[in-house]
Symmetry: C2
Amino acid sequence: MKNAALEKSSHLEYFNIAISVDCVIFGYEDKQLKVLLIKSDLEEFEGMWSLLGDLVRPDEDLEAASYRVLQERTGLDDVYLEQVYTFGATGRHPSGRVITTAYYALVNIHTYKLANTDNELHWHPVSELGTMAFDHKNIVDTCLKRLQEAVLEHPIVFNLLPKKFSLRELQDVYEAILGVELDRRNFRKRITLKGWLDDLNEMEEDVPHRPGKVYCLKEVFGRHGKKALKPAPVLHS
Amino acid sequence: MKNAALEKSSHLEYFNIAISVDCVIFGYEDKQLKVLLIKSDLEEFEGMWSLLGDLVRPDEDLEAASYRVLQERTGLDDVYLEQVYTFGATGRHPSGRVITTAYYALVNIHTYKLANTDNELHWHPVSELGTMAFDHKNIVDTCLKRLQEAVLEHPIVFNLLPKKFSLRELQDVYEAILGVELDRRNFRKRITLKGWLDDLNEMEEDVPHRPGKVYCLKEVFGRHGKKALKPAPVLHS
DNA sequence: CTTAAATTGTGTCCTTAATACACAAAAATA
DNA sequence: TATTTTTGTGTATTAAGGACACAATTTAAG
């Protein structure tokens, strides 16, 4: 940006836009991909659900703002968080001009505890979202699409699962995210080929059928699987 | 975002962040991918190059702001433009808190004319960028990476070329963007397989060697190649 | 006119990844 | 002990990517 524009700009004219972050917090439960939503507190959107978000503070990094929202709402820290897109249509917020940057987070729904006992917070299956407040349905759709692309390339779905899991559980998560059924043998072959997993030489317990082997994400990928870099895109060489 | 936060927030406290857009305008010339830059007008960055950008106006859609920057600077409209990422570190702008959303544009460098006769504007090979003003080097790198991924999936490189081109010219563009050499036979096979091109049954003219056939992008992809949707990501079925 | 230089145009083999598909073994439950 | 549920596994086919060489066309130079 040119400096002249900034120096000359009147405070009233140019600092009249608020910026917020909105978090699409994904969790996985009952073979469904879910998203954490809160009842909107705007008249215009009475009864509708909205994403968790907040205004960015002037002394706060953008990404830090999204972490803060997550921590304040879920009590979790150390979560997987990814910026997706910034939504900046003039009419998107009824109370004023607010540009929002959307992030998605992947959390283990069972380690999550409501930070405040806010009973307006609920997990919703993403496949059953109706109309939402603001442009939040659009934001969720955009984040889901990005997530679908990401899970094919990067070992990140593990953020939705407990540390130890069976291949069946893993496949269920993929199916929930991608919205398709997968062939078991081909799935296992592909996951094996990725080389993401460590065989723990343990078996599932407390399952009402033949127990499966238990795996965990290899340590080299770090806590969030972010260390697995996408190979540089190369056409032929 | 919660409404309460917005309503209660003091103007001074929360509307203290400016938002800008920065455009990474890519062009192609002399077998090089280039980016249009302007001399920074900040003392702190004297002599350094910076992206074209401007503050977003309160009554202006975010995307409209990036189009405006493009039009004002290049005189072009109807250009390919894609949002990439929003950079929001607190320290990124020395004059104040400015969050910026980065877009990349693809333009035909030869149809481009300087809108103002601003001789501070220049095309720079992306492979030869040194230090830049602000975090702009980082922004260019991020946009280039995104571009590299995009050109493998979507028919968008054509925005960098004249309407009619030979396969050799097309391959040169891919090589410039990806930064690798490609095998001619395999490249042609892959491009053919994509089904993006119409054979015009014409030959190159004024080349100092055997002329090649001339192609154009199929009309179904629209002016910018945006109509070519990525197939939904599916693992096995 | 002949020759040299540059560039176009083309096909096969190999490897890898994705997909479709079926049956036996293990454990729990009735 | 029989039934149910689920795990675990391999092969054959197809599609795409990558390595690789030679003849034909045109211009430019002598």
